[in-house]
Every structure is written in structure tokens, then in C-alpha cells.
């Protein structure tokens, strides 16, 4: 592509813009893009960002690593916690968290466990360490690098991370009171969720991507926002900060 940024950089920038100053959030293992987003937000408009909820507080990594749960990635940080404190964080919730998985459905539920039946799956996935952040945090983001009919399905085979379940009534019945999934970011587009149906809704297309392309990659029917727009691409300032402060090693560049 002739774009001056990679998909990884685009998604990190998009996510970073939605993180507010003073918020507390975290990314789990295998979360290069979310971690970059948090660090970029902190380096730009959100200097009071608190990176906490895993087993460390406010890291200053020297390199952007694929997992933040790794001393290679941690660099300096302000404090260490343990899984006991994580238990409390999981109950009290964060402002934001991130998830990705094997499958995503139209209600923003995520499957990390299995494709096919639980008892005899065709594919057994890794499972999820912690789905409570999805329930207790104020919102979460889905960052899906594989956008295909295989991964964007009508109904997840196994519901690991609760998103909007089967819609408003089911959320009420389960006692889910927070926003749940806020945006779904893929290499092709951004979805938000319809306020009434709580289903995925196309919000913006990345430059050069057509609606038909997203339709063909998505295994369920979805609505489109009346104000469907082109995704606002990274500014020079954002890319500069990202490449000099957040990801000097260029890990995001290889994500396309």
C-alpha cells in the first residue's frame, strides 16, 4: 500500500483518540496495538492515564512488546501488583479494556474457547484469563486483525467474552450495566453499536475500502450509520509520537 502508516499504526492511533485523560485501563497478553494506543494517549492528550489492572502500574517500556505481561516489555514502572489485586480490579472494573478472539458476533460477543461444539471442538483456542473486565469496565474495545466470514459470525460458537449478549433484554437480564463493547476495529473499518438493537453497525471505512468489501468479509448482516464516513487517518503529530516514543522499534509497522 502507499499509505504512510501500517494497519497496526492506524488502529493504535484510532484507539488512542478515544481514551480520555485521567482514565485507568489496561491491555492483556498479546495486545500490541492496544498497548500502543494507551501509551500514545498518555504521550499526547492523556498524561494522567493510569495503566493498571494487570500486575504492574504505569510502565515505561523501552520496546513495544507483543505482551505487556512480560518483564521484557515492562521497562520501568511505578508499582507491581499480583493476581490478588487483579481479582479486586476485575470486580471494580477499569475505564477501558481490549479484547480479541477466534470469533466475533453481531452483538460484540467474543469467542476465545472453541470453534465447533465445546465437548469435541474442531479448534480449541486458548481461553480467556479474565472476562470480568468486559462486564465491569466502563467500556471495552474489540481489536480484530482477522476480518473474515470465518471470524465475524452470526453467533459465536462459545461465548467467552460477553458483549451485548443477544441484545438489550438479555443484557438487562444478566445485570450488565456498563457500555460493554464500544467499537470494533478491523483492518478495513470501524463498527460501533446501534443504541437500540445493540448490534454492530458500520461507522467508518478505512481509506480505499468499499462497503461491498466489508459486507463480503462479514458473516452477518449489519446496518450502516447514516453518516458513514471515511476513517480519519493518523496525523503527522500522532505518527511522530507513535514512532519516536511509543514504538521506536517499529513493531506496529509489520501489522498490515
Amino acid at each position: 500500500m502507499s499509505r504512510p502508516y501500517s494497519t497496526g499504526e492506524l488502529l493504535a492511533v484510532l484507539l488512542s483518540r478515544d481514551l480520555q485523560d485521567g482514565e485507568t485501563g489496561a491491555a492483556g497478553a498479546a495486545a500490541l496495538i492496544p498497548m500502543a494506543a494507551i501509551l500514545l494517549a498518555r504521550a499526547s492528550h492523556a498524561p494522567n492515564m493510569q495503566i493498571a489492572g494487570e500486575m504492574f502500574v504505569n510502565p515505561y517500556p523501552k520496546v513495544l512488546s507483543s505482551s505487556m505481561l512480560d518483564d521484557r516489555a515492562l521497562g520501568k514502572c511505578e508499582a507491581a501488583e499480583t493476581f490478588v489485586e487483579l481479582f479486586g480490579h476485575s470486580h471494580r472494573g477499569l475505564d477501558f479494556f481490549f479484547h480479541s478472539g477466534l470469533q466475533y458476533d453481531q452483538y460484540g460477543n467474543v469467542n476465545l474457547h472453541c470453534i465447533g461444539p465445546w465437548d469435541r471442538p474442531q479448534v480449541r483456542g486458548p481461553g480467556a484469563a479474565n472476562f470480568s473486565y468486559a462486564i465491569r469496565s466502563r467500556r471495552f474495545y474489540i481489536c480484530a486483525l482477522d476480518h473474515s466470514p470465518r471470524s465475524f459470525v452470526e453467533r459465536v460458537d462459545f461465548l467467552t467474552i460477553p458483549g451485548n449478549l443477544s441484545g438489550p433484554e438479555s443484557r438487562r437480564a444478566a445485570g450488565l450495566t456498563h457500555q460493554g463493547p464500544r467499537y470494533v476495529l478491523t483492518p478495513f473499518c470501524v463498527f460501533d453499536f446501534d443504541e437500540v438493537t445493540l448490534k454492530m453497525r458500520l461507522m467508518s471505512l478505512h481509506p480505499g475500502v468499499t462497503l461491498d468489501e466489508v459486507v463480503s468479509r462479514t458473516g452477518f448482516a449489519f446496518d450502516t450509520r447514516a453518516d458513514l464516513s471515511e476513517t480519519k487517518t493518523p496525523t503527522d503529530d500522532e505518527l511522530h509520537l507513535l514512532r519516536t516514543i511509543v514504538d521506536p522499534g517499529g513493531s506496529l509497522k509489520s501489522i498490515n
Binding site: 492528550h45 493510569q50 511505578e78 481479582f87 479486586g88 480490579h89 471494580r92
Partner: protein
């Protein structure tokens, strides 16, 4: 929807450090009459006594007092000043003698001193930090403390039906804590060997105010993250107050001022025996709490550098 970022100079991270001259206002704003306050440290160590004096200076009344499971001088001072309505304190003692104002207030029935034990307070704070409504307890039997304890209920184990107890989550309005070091972002370091329930109290309370012997550069925190005992995001305000734990200790920086505590207890015992001597209490509170304009004034009033350096020496040579 993702906005274009407005081009602007990037803002700076906010400091949580409060000037010592403003700490009274901060405490007055955080703690209302009738509110609940939880005090860190233990017995004669690491008690945030300077912050407690600010509670008295703010004129707070009707407080509900929590603490790590063993408390003494500071609680007695709050009771002497008439700030307290109820206590949820397992132990109130000066160790070698009783706390006279606590004793007197209970005997005259002017405060409600609930029967609780360490597991009540610790379990209740644990429930809050764990984000659950109660903590199961099975280690209670036979004591009158259980029957009088207002914070517990009986329940059964959902797996095998065994009867057990539950202590309800305790969420104090304000935590007052003393430690040795912090950075301006509220990352706290205890240098003492024991840290009591301080981290637990900080995690469980709505507003957390910490006095420290020294505010240190943030680089010192980053150089040793495992030394941080309370991460900054649990802390609302941090204030450097020299000898802020006096007359209790702040190990390894300074030791207990036993004479000072005894002098206070002597007044308390005298008043307990002869209520006409109440003016001695007011004189004490004036001199040590109300009159000093700031903590430096207080330190002059309690003996100045001569006394304080002796307490530093004691901590160093133990």
C-alpha cells in the same frame, strides 16, 4: 466517534502533592461531620497523627472511627476532642496503660464502642478491596464479641451447607495513612519493615490522604517498583509533613515519643478521675492541636529539634 485530535501543546501530568499549608482544607473537604475515617499504622507506629490533628482542627463531629486492628494515642486524641460518635476498633490501648479518654467515654456512654475484632475490620476491608459485598469468616466461636458485632451475619457455605459467618464490606469515606516516602503522583513507599494494614486501607477507602516524611523524585519510585507499597492511583492526596507521625514512630526515620504519649495519658487519667479538670484537656488541645499554625509550629511546641533529633537517634541505633 474518534475526533481529530486538536493540535495543542501536550498537557502535563497533574501532581497529587498538597502543600502542608493546604492539608487542613483538603481534609475538611474530604471528611464531613458524621463521616467514617480509617487510620493506618499500628499502635505507636506509623500513625498519621498530623492528619488526625487536622481532623480536630476542622472541628469534625460524630465521626465513625476505623483503624488497623490496634490503635492508641491518635484515637484517644480524637475522642478527647469530641470528634467521635462510634468506634469499630478491635483494640484501643497504649500497651503499658489504657487509653484514658476512650475508657472514660465508654464508661460514661458518650461514644458507642462496638465489639469487633481484627477479622471483622480486616475482613470487611478485604471484601471492599476484592470488590465483593462480604468476606466469609469461619474462625469465630464462643466470644461475646461475635454476639455484639454489628457488622456480621450468619450464613452457610453454598457447597456443603456448613454454617459460617460473613462480615460486610467496609468502605471508609476517608483513609488517613502515614508512610516514609512518596513521589508527587502519590506512589507510596514504606521503609518500615511492617506495613500493617496500610495498603489494604488505601485500597478500600473512598478518599485516601497520605502524609510522608519525604516526597522524593519520581525517578526513585521508577528505579524500584517493587518497593512501592501503595500505587499512586489509589491515592488522592499526598503531603510531606516532617515528623507527621509524632508522637508515634515512623521507622526507620524516627522512634516513638513515649514521654509525650505518657504526658497526654496522665492528663486523661486525671480528668477521668476528676471531670472538673477538663480545662487541662482543652489546654492540651490548644497547645498541640489548635494553636500551631502549621506542623513546624507543632514541632516547636513539642520540643523542637532537640527532642526530634533524639527520636531520630533512637530509631537509628535500635
Amino acid at each position: 466517534m474518534f475526533p481529530d485530535p486538536v493540535a495543542q501543546p501536550h498537557p502535563q501530568r497533574r501532581s497529587k502533592a498538597v502543600d502542608v499549608a493546604d492539608i487542613g482544607r483538603v481534609i475538611a473537604e474530604a471528611l464531613a461531620d458524621g463521616g467514617s475515617v480509617c487510620i493506618g499504622g499500628l499502635l505507636k507506629q506509623g500513625r498519621p497523627v498530623a492528619l488526625v490533628r487536622e481532623v480536630i482542627r476542622a472541628g469534625r463531629k460524630g465521626l465513625k472511627l476505623f483503624s488497623s486492628p490496634a490503635s492508641g494515642y491518635d484515637v484517644d486524641l480524637l475522642i478527647a476532642a469530641g470528634c467521635v460518635a462510634e468506634t469499630y476498633l478491635p483494640v484501643v490501648t497504649l500497651e503499658h496503660r489504657f487509653c484514658p479518654f476512650f475508657r472514660d467515654a465508654v464508661e460514661r456512654n458518650t461514644i458507642k464502642a462496638h465489639a469487633v475484632d481484627a477479622l471483622t475490620v480486616v475482613g470487611g476491608l478485604m471484601a471492599t478491596t476484592n470488590g465483593v459485598p462480604y468476606q466469609p469468616v469461619t474462625a469465630w466461636a464462643g466470644s461475646d464479641v461475635i454476639d455484639l458485632n454489628p457488622l456480621i451475619a450468619r450464613t452457610t457455605c453454598p457447597f456443603d451447607g456448613t454454617p459460617l459467618f460473613a462480615v460486610q464490606a467496609i468502605r471508609p469515606d476517608v483513609a488517613l495513612i502515614h508512610a516514609q516516602e512518596a513521589d508527587e503522583f502519590g506512589n507510596i513507599r514504606h521503609l518500615s519493615t511492617m506495613t500493617y494494614a496500610d495498603a489494604l486501607i488505601a485500597r478500600a477507602s473512598r478518599t485516601v490522604i497520605v502524609s510522608v516524611d519525604r516526597i522524593v523524585p519520581a525517578e526513585k519510585i521508577l528505579a524500584d517498583p517493587t518497593g512501592t507499597t501503595i500505587p499512586g492511583f489509589y491515592v488522592d492526596h499526598v503531603v510531606q509533613i516532617p515528623f507527621g507521625a509524632h508522637p508515634t514512630a515512623s521507622f526507620p526515620n524516627y522512634s516513638v515519643d513515649e514521654e509525650f504519649i505518657d504526658a497526654f495519658a496522665d492528663i486523661g487519667d486525671a480528668v477521668r478521675k476528676d471531670p472538673n479538670r477538663r480545662d487541662a484537656v482543652e489546654a492540651y488541645l490548644d497547645r498541640h492541636v489548635r494553636d500551631p499554625r502549621d506542623p513546624f509550629d507543632y514541632l516547636d511546641a513539642v520540643g523542637g529539634y532537640r527532642r526530634l533529633s533524639a527520636l531520630e537517634d533512637e530509631a537509628r541505633f535500635i
